[in-house]
Subunit: 331 residues, 2 copies
């Protein structure tokens, strides 16, 4: 408990330094604002320096944050975040098995709508239908969001599509790349996978208690460090643009982009999301095979998505099958 | 790990004694069948005696189980259980916070279809819509089942109704009481609540990964030990019949009853469950108020359930509303 409190006030010190990034803050002022001793403030500063933060310390003036490590920290995401709910409660873990698993656990414990789980290093990330998700310390974004929408259970897949649009808009804004969405949950650039989305539900009978959306974005990772089978199919923002990006800035941009779309969606419905999704849709009009969880395979042409957000598959006999959740093999 | 192995072979010894309840089993035979030393067998027997099992020990003949404590144990449930899947994997806890919570955790870890979580003492049992569920050590049944049906998500509420029928059939068979079902998840006798059912889902978008059904049955509990607010509204098999029942026997009966119905349901659909449910349905034809999770209140007459298993509510204007999940106030 004491250790947790110490961790919290270290985060509080860092948050203050972020909030006053171009100013000096005296140890006295920090100690007053946080409610801990000046000695404690000094110790937190030393600890932050050991973590890789560059903090200028000038007699009579105080402390000033001048540079931060590439790795993520909680203050970097919260300071300046312009959302009402999303990310206003953040659970940050330096390292974690899976943000998604932790989010499901926290959702079950009653975590509020908008809670975000973040980490620097995800060691056993999970993807759709039991697949795993590759990550690398401090190079990628791995986050999970807990949402508590008052939605009928059958509409929740729309949130996966909304998330894809929010991420695409975020990446387009930050990098000027143009993103394509492969139904239902991948984002590609130049035909290579950049982002994965995983939507999971907790429900009581058909009453949705929580929707947990996991987002993995390859940001500064060197694609040569991917396992062989992913080298030709995966990309990162860095591999596409040659630049490094601030993980915290992309997360803020995404959370703001998501919340804006989510708010519109709740009042206007999926019709306001559908065109944004369709203008980025890849592979519509192409022949696909759909492997359903039960082992069935359906073949046909991906002809679009419905207003409910399900994939419409036109079969050879002209009939349309609605595809809700499946492992699609694009032909 | 060593301790777990020891616990497992103690359960194995007890299982053998249960399987040969009216015969003597030599220490040598037990040691050979279980693959541990005769000294270890002797230690397990001593430990079982300390737990309250009566075990006759006769020189040259061996050990014979003559009586068991009222409390539940794993062997009592598994020996003689005539099911194919349900309860073939049992996780037994002497005491636990909530079997439902543990089941959700195990389901997420990949526990197989039919896994059952059982306990002697549930200290923070959960009921529907965040309500709590009262329990008492060794007097009640608290179990959760993990099912992995290949069902569309909208059909999963039918499993709550199926469970209610299975429990009603089990209680009717064991006690000769007649049970009424109050939509969706309560079983009553003489107007008092005897059983609660809680159905929870884990899904990926609309693909159902696991359905976890929690069942609480008041068996040998003295109703005078209930909290004041439940004294007039709750009952136990003992309070209704004056008799004590074997928890293990009721659990076996329920698991067999459930599996039989579940197998029929998967091949024939809900139409084979509906009449069994309706013949026990309480309050059909009565005026009710339905409080939906979003805070809305709908009033009308409960006119039946549909073939999908949803409650049909006839409103004053004659229109029918389908009620999927709600807190019903029976008027």
């Amino acid at each position: 408990m004491v250790q947790k409190m110490a961790g919290q006030s270290k985060t509080a010190v860092l948050t203050l330094l972020y909030e006053h990034k171009n100013e000096f803050l005296s140890g006295q002022k920090i100690s007053r604002m946080i409610g801990c001793s000046r000695t404690a403030v000094w110790k937190h500063i030393q600890s932050l320096v050991a973590d890789g933060f560059l903090i200028e310390s000038v007699q009579k003036k105080g402390y000033r944050l001048t540079n931060v490590p590439d790795e993520l920290n909680e203050a970097a995401v919260t300071v300046g975040l312009k959302t009402k709910h999303l990310g206003q409660s953040i659970h940050f873990y330096d390292t974690i098995g899976s943000t998604q698993k932790e989010a499901l656990r926290l959702a079950d414990e009653g975590a509020v709508h908008g809670t975000v789980i973040l980490t620097n290093e995800q060691v056993s990330g999970r993807g759709r239908l039991g697949h795993s998700w590759q990550s690398q310390r401090g190079k990628n974004i791995a986050l999970s969001m807990i949402l508590r929408p008052e939605l009928p259970i059958e509409k929740t897949p729309q949130l996966t599509l909304l998330t894809a649009v929010a991420i695409a808009k975020c990446i387009e804004k930050v990098t000027n790349l143009s993103c394509g969405i492969k139904w239902p949950n991948d984002i590609l650039c130049d035909g290579k996978k950049l982002v994965g989305i995983l939507t999971e539900l907790q429900a009581e009978a058909t009453y949705v208690k929580a929707v947990v959306i996991g987002v993995g974005i390859n940001v500064n990772i060197d694609v040569s460090s991917f396992p062989a089978e992913l080298k030709t199919s995966a990309a990162s923002l860095k591999s596409l643009t040659g630049k490094n990006y601030s993980l915290a800035l992309i997360i803020q941009e995404f959370l703001e982009s998501f919340e804006a779309l989510y708010t519109r969606y709740l009042s206007e419905g999926f019709t306001c999301i559908r065109p944004l999704w369709e203008q980025r849709a890849l592979n519509l009009g192409k022949q696909i095979k759909v492997r359903q969880p039960g082992g069935w395979i359906i073949e046909g042409v991906a002809s679009g998505i419905s207003d409910e957000g399900v994939l419409l598959l036109k079969k050879s006999d002209g009939s349309i099958a609605k595809i809700y959740s499946a492992d699609v093999e694009w032909g």
